[in-house]
Subunit: 461 residues, 2 copies
């Protein structure tokens, strides 16, 4: 039963399991105590810190263990912003950061700060020039992920770190998705990561603050972890996190080559075997193990259920698979299709035949979902018609129905004619333009309607 | 090698270990995902929540898992204060709360709020009437521990909860030390606890917010755990925490009787066998497993080292054993001696012969430390003298030297004469009055000196 959602959480690495078990017996005591159990715990903690620092490429005293990657991000951003409050209250982030970064930015704004979101290109990549232009005299902090968690695109961290250094702005790098694969290059100032993403246990994040970077931890004082991570140290998990990071790194170079080839196989295989599909993200400058694609006329939740029934665990950025009914902000920022979205992220050790089997199963699964929804056949010829324009009422219908109804009637208007889709589904705003791009039709624009929004499409072919 | 510091952290309960191992295999996936690994994780999380809620005596949807007890306290206090900000910004705590509560209070004051610390009696117990009088019209929140972590004294939670209800103030109970022993009785509003205190793993705290209690979680938004505990759920640890809480509770009644008797044996044994000792805390209304005593003329750190060498792991509230060089705020609030302090907290399963062996070893260990410091013999008769007053310069000397030097010269002044001790050690402020109380001498008071503080003692006998 292949699990293809390593970017959410990787199964526990055997070394992590082993280290966790060993330190359940050795590392349960309070490392700040003077007796032997405490001293033993302190030794384990120090050794874990050294191992993690070596993997990150920093000094041990620059690194603290937090209770999660999310907590590392929250603490890192709030502490860096507070320490530079006199400089200003401006924060720069990319539009495709993890929600923990964007939620920190929202909190900063709610408290009176300002944020600039730097846009990305269609591959999900930030332009260093655009990022540099967002830096201002009053910029207290800049944040950038090392690689995107949904589409795998790598960001130009080293270049942007240089731009930030040039103007004296600290750069916080969210390395949650990439740290297992290697160090983050460049002259960054702060770094965060999450152990369960590299096969370590849940409950451990890393926060690195380079010497000389101003930092003022927020929240109630607590003497543990240099005052940057309140609460009793989760030592067995910390030991397991450090040990597994080292183990994963030892295997990273070979496994990266292997998974990169498997992902390439998925990228080309999906594009060949599934009609009306968009494979997203940078095909080259990307994480080895992540690929995302979106299927027109497909309901993401149904597709996930069908793939799960077929034995494949994948995730989705489609709105209908999230509790908020909002499509992925990453896909939205990239301007790519969000409906029928599937993210495949291969854990280390993924067997090639599991990938092949996935590629065998996928086309039929997508076709079945489309058939059930009454989607138009990919090859359906557009019948000539004389009606100069049509209105499709998709009010109250969720993604992907509005796009399906649009596709069904586009042939009913003549070339040059328009179809207006009335929809109150948030995903339509993204998916109708994306459909136009994929099908060579013109997206005219949107305007408010009596209920919902009217999206206007002109038939070009 | 007996470990007698369960109040810092209990060794992992076998059931916790077993549950942790089982859920490392079953519970590593993201419980918010729709695929089978995610659904399985969700089931485990739901079952753990139900088990923990049953043990607490609350509804499952009132309980969230945090990353530590400290984090539960921080989140609980900040969320409750923020939600009642319109009522006012006054916070009530007892003077003997855990540092996580007092640090939250300090942060609240730094942000413009006010705090009233309710004092305790010499046994460390809060008076319900005094607590009730501290509640004001603008009181947003009241906090009280169920039992004290250093001296074991139980607080009158049910009575104070009633007082709080009567005036509409929510009461947050820090149940970190007691939850393994039983439910917290009374009509409290919020409750916090920490799994590693009851033999569960590190990395798990509980935060309970009763339905109807206003709460506004602070910090960046995060959808997990009802928005009250940011970060990926540490599921194996959560499962282990809930399973071990249930297991510990099943053994609690019998083990409480047994440990209570052992602690009584320590209380009386120490008082009998060690001269110049003060056993602190309520002898009856107390946790079953905790006892604290302080030894005059003893350096706490040396005593801990000697006990560790003899095979006993205990902790201390003495200033010289803490990184801050400040004696325990609990002992200080109680007005008891802080020098040579030892806290013994017995983990479940402690063997009676280990306790007996401790009582055999302790008197000699204390005597040896005293001899090394040149402390006066307990029975040393005070020689008559004519010098009406004396000044002892203990500047630059740490606890317990100032008290030892005082004890050495008190016999050199006549009855009615005074000894003035010059000291710049913070502990002297507490320990000189405490020494006077123990030795039947009069503590006249303190005044600023050219360097440090002058403490004046009058000889009465």
């Amino acid at each position: 039963m292949p699990y293809f959602d390593a970017a959410s959480s990787a199964p526990l690495h055997p070394v992590a399991r082993q280290a966790l078990l060993a330190s359940l017996d050795e590392g349960w005591a309070d490392p700040s105590r003077l007796y032997r159990e405490g001293r033993r715990a302190r030794l384990l903690l120090d050794a874990a810190r050294e191992a993690a620092a070596e993997a990150v490429g920093c000094r041990p005293d620059e690194l603290v263990f937090t209770s999660s990657g999310t907590r590392a991000v929250h603490t890192g951003i709030s502490g860096a912003l507070a320490a530079r409050r006199r400089v200003g209250r401006h924060l720069v982030v990319s539009a495709v950061e993890h929600s923990s970064v964007l939620h920190s930015a929202a909190e900063h704004e709610a408290a009176g700060g300002t944020t600039t979101q730097v846009t990305v290109d269609r591959a999900g990549r930030v332009d260093p020039g655009a990022y540099a232009r967002a830096l201002r005299e009053d910029t207290a902090l800049a944040c950038l992920q090392s690689a995107n968690h949904e589409v795998g695109t790598e960001q130009p961290v080293a270049e942007i770190a240089q731009e930030c250094r040039a103007v004296g702005v600290p750069l916080l790098v969210d390395a949650a998705q990439s740290l297992g694969w290697g160090r983050v290059e460049g002259d960054w100032s702060l770094l965060t990561a999450s152990a369960h993403k590299w096969g370590g246990p849940a409950g451990v994040g890393l926060l690195v603050v380079r010497k000389g970077v101003r930092f003022a931890a927020q929240g109630p004082a607590d003497e543990r972890e240099s005052g940057r991570a309140a609460g009793f140290e989760n030592l067995p998990a910390i030991v397991a996190a450090a040990a597994s990071l080292r183990a994963v790194r030892a295997e990273a170079a070979g496994e990266a080559v292997r998974l990169r080839a498997l992902v390439d196989r998925i990228r080309s295989g999906v594009a060949e075997a599934v009609p009306d599909v968009e494979v997203a993200g940078d095909p080259v400058r990307r994480l080895p193990h992540v690929v995302t694609f979106s299927c027109l006329y497909v309901d993401g939740e149904t597709l996930l259920h069908e793939l799960d029934r077929a034995g494949f665990s994948v995730s989705s950025g489609s709105s209908c698979t999230s509790s908020t009914l909002t499509p992925s902000h990453v896909l939205r920022a990239m301007g790519v299709l969000t409906e029928g979205n599937v993210r495949v992220s291969l854990p280390p050790g993924t067997a090639a035949q599991d990938v092949d089997r996935f590629l065998e199963v996928l086309p039929g699964t997508v076709a079945a979902v489309r058939e059930r929804l009454g989607a138009p056949a990919a090859s359906s010829p557009a019948e000539p018609s004389d009606a100069p324009s049509l209105v499709v009422d998709s009010l109250g219908k969720r993604c992907p129905i509005p796009v399906i109804e649009l596709a069904k009637v586009i042939g009913d208007v003549p070339v040059g004619g328009t179809v207006t889709v009335l929809s109150d589904d948030e995903a339509a705003r993204l998916d109708i333009p994306a459909w136009c791009g994929m099908r060579g039709q013109e997206y005219v624009g949107e305007r408010p309607a009596e209920r919902g929004v009217a999206y206007v499409v002109r038939r070009l072919s």
